[in-house]
């Protein structure tokens, strides 16, 4: 590793790493626009100018490959003046329309202009006008704000591999654009909005939704597929306004897919269940009476804590279990290797772990629910508890048709559906964005969900409800926190160990306590 001196302090530069990344990792702030850690460097914005001992001119740090003994200066009059000058050029044709710009508050033009106290413009000429228009179904461009840094172009070329963008025209007419007949539309297109360092590329879904400085930023994990991309949610007035990827080298890198990003409508859906029916005692009684003629349907999108409790429940009353899954389409892999999984459940690995999916097999999917329906017709199952976390699941007609045959039906669900109408006990539950808990992604990484918004009135956490049920059944003694259940299920692990980026339980970690119940209808 080459040793270099940064502002007089000796540091080691990891081999192959550009100077700007070395400096950024050291916490040395070097302003930049075009450089992005997930993309090849372009060296065009000219903002990250630093002084290096092997050049007379100032050099852009994003292109310098540190060599042994290199001395780097990142501050000083000459450097400040140069950066200020670049900033001045950058702003002359910029519309300075911050009051109406969606990027305000998270715009690097604003930040650096503030930092370098560049308040006066000497530019008296006419500005160049570039178009404001739709680039695709989700993205709009304000051409006048574009600084031609090519981050978006590089993203489409290098990461998505779909190449919908190019810089068009030249000189000060340069602007990012699509071919007039081929819109910017790929499964991960909205990442260009996040990486746009200015307000040029805008997410139409977020446009004029919230001023970011009034909104809260909260960390969580996307539950739209089994990848579990780390996200940060922008929450304003108890509403999730957008999801953005949060860097996790082991899961999603810098990116996330559009499906996951936009799949937030069900959280604030009008069709959320709010009205409870029956009590915990009613359900406990029904299950006790049903005994081994009871069945429980659980989903692969429950948290590990919920699944652990559901397993305790199934074991306690010797109920049969069917696990719901959801596969949509085929696996999509981007040029850079970013994958979008067809498994649209968030905790398949967790469900497999707790309910024993068998060698390479996934949890029993709706096929076995059809089998379960047959058992209802046969009179083998008389009591059914459906606990579902998959919104808008299309229930098989066989099950809906068999429901009236049941002696007792209880449903814990997010949205209204055909089974709810027929249920004796209804529990409106909270969704992924309203609860604390963990999920395991397809690589076996345990990651933590956090409450982002308050649940709708009337909705209950399943964690509490299931514990109350188990207390009623005499299996558990108290209602405890999510973390307490987690520590019980995964001895040796706690939420601190899961942390912001998750953890993969090692071989030394004890598997979840207790034995797996009888799965399916074998």
């Amino acid at each position: 590793m080459p040793k270099i001196k940064v502002n007089g302090t000796e540091v080691e530069a990891p081999p192959g790493m550009r100077l700007l990344e070395v400096l950024t990792n050291l916490g040395t702030d070097v302003p930049h626009y075009c450089w992005h850690p997930g993309l090849t460097p372009a060296g065009n914005c000219r903002m990250c100018l630093v002084k290096v001992s092997n050049s007379r001119k100032l050099e852009v740090a994003c292109m310098v490959m540190p060599s042994e003994g290199l001395e780097v200066t990142t501050e000083g009059e000459e450097i400040d003046a140069a950066r200020k000058s670049v900033l001045e050029y950058m702003l002359i044709n910029h519309p300075l329309d911050c009051p109406i710009c969606d990027k305000a508050g998270e715009c690097r033009l604003q930040d650096y202009t503030y930092e370098y106290r560049h308040g006066l413009s000497r530019f008296k000429e006419d500005k160049v006008i570039r178009p404001t228009k739709d680039l695709g179904p989700n993205i709009k461009i304000w051409g006048n704000r574009c600084i031609s840094c090519t981050r978006c172009v590089r993203f489409c070329d290098e990461i998505a591999g779909t190449g919908e963008l190019s810089i068009v025209n030249r000189g000060d007419h340069s602007v990012a654009d699509t071919h007039p007949e081929v819109p910017l539309d790929n499964p991960m297109s909205l990442n260009v909005v996040d990486i746009c360092p200015v307000g040029a590329l805008i997410d139409k879904n977020f446009l004029y939704q919230a001023r970011v400085w009034f909104a809260e930023r909260k960390d969580s994990v996307c539950t739209s597929c089994s990848r579990g991309c780390n996200v940060v949610a922008t929450v304003y007035k108890n509403e999730i306004k957008r999801l953005q990827p949060r860097f996790n080298a082991d899961v999603n890198g810098h990116w996330m897919c559009d499906h996951g990003r936009l799949n937030i409508a069900q959280v604030a859906s009008e069709r959320r269940l709010k009205q409870a029916k029956g009590t915990v005692q009613d359900l406990a009684r029904a299950l006790r009476e049903g005994g081994n003629k009871s069945a429980v349907i659980v989903s692969s999108s429950h948290t590990l804590e919920e699944l652990y409790l559901l397993r305790q429940l199934a074991n306690a009353v010797q109920a049969k279990v069917a696990v719901l899954g959801r596969d949509v389409g085929t696996r999509w892999v981007s040029k850079s290797g970013f994958a979008i999984e067809p498994d649209k459940t968030s905790n398949r690995r967790g469900a497999e772990l707790l309910f024993g999916g068998g060698a390479g097999g996934r949890p029993t999917t709706l096929g076995s629910v059809v089998q379960l329906a047959r058992s209802i017709w046969d009179g083998q199952v008389k009591t059914l508890f459906v606990s579902n976390q998959l919104p808008d699941l299309e229930w098989p007609e066989e099950l809906v048709a068999a429901a009236p045959k049941l002696q007792s039906l209880a449903v814990a669900d997010l949205l209204d559906g055909p089974l709810v109408a027929r249920a004796d006990v209804v529990v409106p539950t909270v969704c992924w964005a309203e609860k604390d808990g963990t999920i395991m992604n397809l690589d076996g990484r345990i990651q933590r969900l956090r409450p982002l918004v308050a649940p709708p009135q009337g909705a209950r956490t399943e964690l509490a409800f299931l514990q109350e049920l188990l207390v009623e059944l005499g299996v558990r003694r108290h209602v405890v926190s999510a973390e307490a259940v987690f520590r019980e299920a995964f001895p040796g692990l706690d939420y601190a160990r899961v942390g912001l980026l998750g953890t993969v339980p090692g071989a030394s970690t004890t598997p979840p306590a207790g034995t797996a119940p009888h799965v399916g209808n074998k």
Binding site: E125, C156, R170, T178, E181
Partner: protein, 646 residues
């Protein structure tokens, strides 16, 4: 129907389409085969994008959206990339273009000889403005930047053909003939008469230009008859070690003729030694305003260049050479291709050259209108089929150039020097001419206000004033000299006093001009007489650089436009004295801050003009004007104040 390909703010009137444009375009099988043959000339298919768009032009009369998608699919690139490439270059025909695209050169050498009047005349006669098309779809009027035809100023390009030294009267005549032409296709077939080459009398025995005016000088037969290809034949049969040849060229003192003056042999020595193929790329993207020497060599002695290519390819062990010729030189590209075809037929290119088992292939790669492609890494980006964005150095092309392989980029004139250097005793002869550090003869292109503009091949070190006054006949109409731009518009300008001084005497060599605070550049000398308004001259060249900035680096993209607009405001009477220093400061802020030196090329002459002719800027700012009659200026509606030249 709007044309999405048009630059915003520059859309002209469009031709009402007689029928809706097709939704899809497809080449005929024969054209597809032609494209495949083109693709085979490059290590990567997508490099054929620029020529593929020429095929669209030829087959469909323009490059439009469906055509771009078709080419994208054939070459395996995204439609957006094709769109980005199309809009980078100015020379492709668009769907809104008329049958005849009239391109008036507006850059300094033509402006000094009245090109504005030509433009105004055409605009009035045709009833259309810039980038607009007549309602009958016959004419499109464009203002373009330097056409490398400055000795024929004012010049006009009609579709691909050049019309020399045009006058309002000759324009009327040509328009009448175009109107009378019985055209059926989307591209008009009428052409002005072929160019007449004027090489003024040359006091020194020329070597490079010795034969250019002889009839048939561009043919293989003519070239072979005067001993052509003998040096190459000799070398390929000699079995000499290539490094010896490199050394010989190094010792001759030959320095690059494209502008930077870097020793050619030294450049060759920098080639990375690895197992990758090596490429020889010939820079024929002659577009530095005032430069028109390579065009002459290509049009009139292409085999001299081709033999130079064979010699260089031998020295650097390259099997593939690409001649990057600027897009505007359509006729030159044809002549060059004919010469190449002749040479291939004779076995002078291809496999087993002269029985040596060595092979060299040569390909003409035509640009499409972008000055920056004359910068060697911008050129390589364009050769690879992209926008002509210069690349960050290091790595230098000799290490990682075209397609990531070691590449030598040499100027046309540089390679044309090789046959004379590598013939027996040639190196010594070459070295015996010139100065201590600037060896040999060089072609100087002189234009602007001189009696005999043209190309002169002179020993390096010839006094500048000797060229202007003795050789080129001095300033016409008894006017006085005011300013000289000695090395293309990128070189800092010199005052008459500096040029006329005996001590220090400014000579035409790399060192002398550097000492004078300027540079030899490409050897393009633009002469301005006493009637020239220097504010106007500055505005003119700054418009050029703003138009030609590739747009990558912030200081250049924004700065070139800024100083051009400010200079324009001064010219039109809207400047303030306090802003003169500011203009200089803004120009200074661009220097040394960018990937290539285009920003420097705009800033350095600007700063020299502001410093040396500051009084003129002050006079403009204080409402006195400069008292000189000169070219027309169009007052943009947004710039207040009247034109200040009463």
């Amino acid at each position: 129907m709007s044309d999405p390909t048009a630059r915003s703010g520059r859309t002209g009137r469009t031709v009402p389409p007689s029928r809706p444009p097709p939704r899809e375009r497809e080449f005929s099988p024969a054209v597809k085969e032609e494209l495949e043959r083109l693709c085979a000339r490059y290590p990567q298919r997508d490099a054929a994008l620029l020529p593929a768009m020429r095929l669209l032009e030829r087959e469909f009369g323009c490059v439009d959206e469906p055509g771009m998608r078709h080419v994208a699919a054939l070459l395996g690139v995204s439609p957006a990339k094709v769109f980005g490439v199309l809009t980078f270059y100015t020379h492709y025909r668009r769907s809104t273009d008329g049958r005849y695209v009239l391109q008036v050169c507006s850059t300094l050498p033509c402006a000094l000889r009245g090109s504005e009047k030509i433009y105004d005349h055409l605009s009035k006669t045709l009833g259309i403005g810039k980038d607009e098309t007549t309602p009958d779809g016959l004419f499109t009027l464009k203002k373009v930047e330097c056409l490398a035809n400055c000795d024929m100023a004012p010049c006009l390009q009609i579709n691909e053909a050049f019309a020399d030294r045009v006058t309002p009267e000759s324009c009327d005549e040509m328009i009448a003939q175009m109107r009378a032409a019985k055209d059926t296709g989307p591209i008009g077939a009428w052409e002005p008469p072929p160019q007449q080459y004027h090489v003024p009398p040359n006091p020194h025995a020329p070597v490079l230009l010795e034969h250019v005016l002889e009839a048939g000088s561009h043919t293989l037969q003519h070239y072979v008859k005067r001993g052509g290809y003998e040096v190459a034949k000799e070398l390929y049969r000699s079995g000499r070690h290539p490094d010896e040849v490199v050394e010989e060229v190094f010792k001759s003192g030959l320095r690059g003729r494209g502008g930077a003056g870097f020793p050619t042999g030294q450049k060759w020595k920098f080639l990375a030694k690895n197992h990758k193929p090596r490429y020889l790329v010939i820079n024929a993207d002659e577009s530095e305003p005032g430069t028109f020497k390579d065009k002459l060599l290509i049009d009139k002695d292409p085999h001299l260049l081709l033999e130079g290519i064979l010699l260089a390819a031998y020295a650097i062990r390259s099997e593939a050479a690409y001649i990057y010729i600027r897009g505007e030189m359509g006729p030159g590209a044809k002549i060059l291709q004919q010469a190449i075809d002749e040479a291939y037929a004779e076995g002078f290119f291809g496999d087993d050259l002269f029985g040596s088992k060595l092979k060299v292939d040569v390909t003409v790669h035509r640009g499409a209108g972008a000055y920056i492609c004359g910068e060697e890494t911008g050129l390589l980006s364009s050769l690879e089929g992209g926008r002509g964005h210069p690349k960050i150095k290091p790595p230098f092309p000799a290490v990682e150039g075209a397609w990531g392989c070691p590449t030598i980029v040499n100027n046309v004139e540089t390679l044309a020097c090789l046959p004379q250097i590598l013939r027996p005793g040639g190196g010594d002869a070459f070295r015996s001419v010139g100065t201590e550090k600037s060896k040999g003869t060089k072609i100087f292109s002189i234009s602007g206000n001189v009696v005999r503009p043209g190309n002169y091949e002179l020993p390096l070190g010839t006094p500048l004033k000797e060229l202007i006054f003795d050789i080129a006949g001095g300033i016409p109409n008894g006017k006085k000299l005011k300013a000289v731009c000695p090395g293309g518009s990128s070189s800092p300008f010199l005052t008459a006093e500096e040029v006329l001084a005996d001590d220090p005497l400014i000579r035409l060599d790399f060192e002398s001009l550097q000492q004078a605070g300027s540079m030899l550049g490409s050897g393009a000398i633009i002469v301005m007489d006493e009637d020239t308004c220097m504010v106007d001259a500055l505005w003119n060249i700054l418009r050029f650089y703003a138009h030609e900035s590739c747009g990558q680096c912030t200081p250049c993209r924004e700065g070139t436009g800024w100083i051009a607009k400010t200079a324009g405001r001064f010219e039109l009477g809207g400047g303030q004295v306090a802003e003169i220093d500011q203009l200089d400061e803004i120009a200074w802020g661009m220097v040394g801050r960018t990937i290539c030196v285009l920003a420097d090329a705009a800033a350095m002459p600007a700063r020299s003009i502001i410093r040396k002719w500051r009084a003129e800027f002050e006079a403009h700012a204080t409402g006195q004007g400069c008292g000189r009659a000169h070219g027309h200026v169009q007052l943009p509606a947004t710039v207040g104040g009247a034109h200040n030249h009463a």
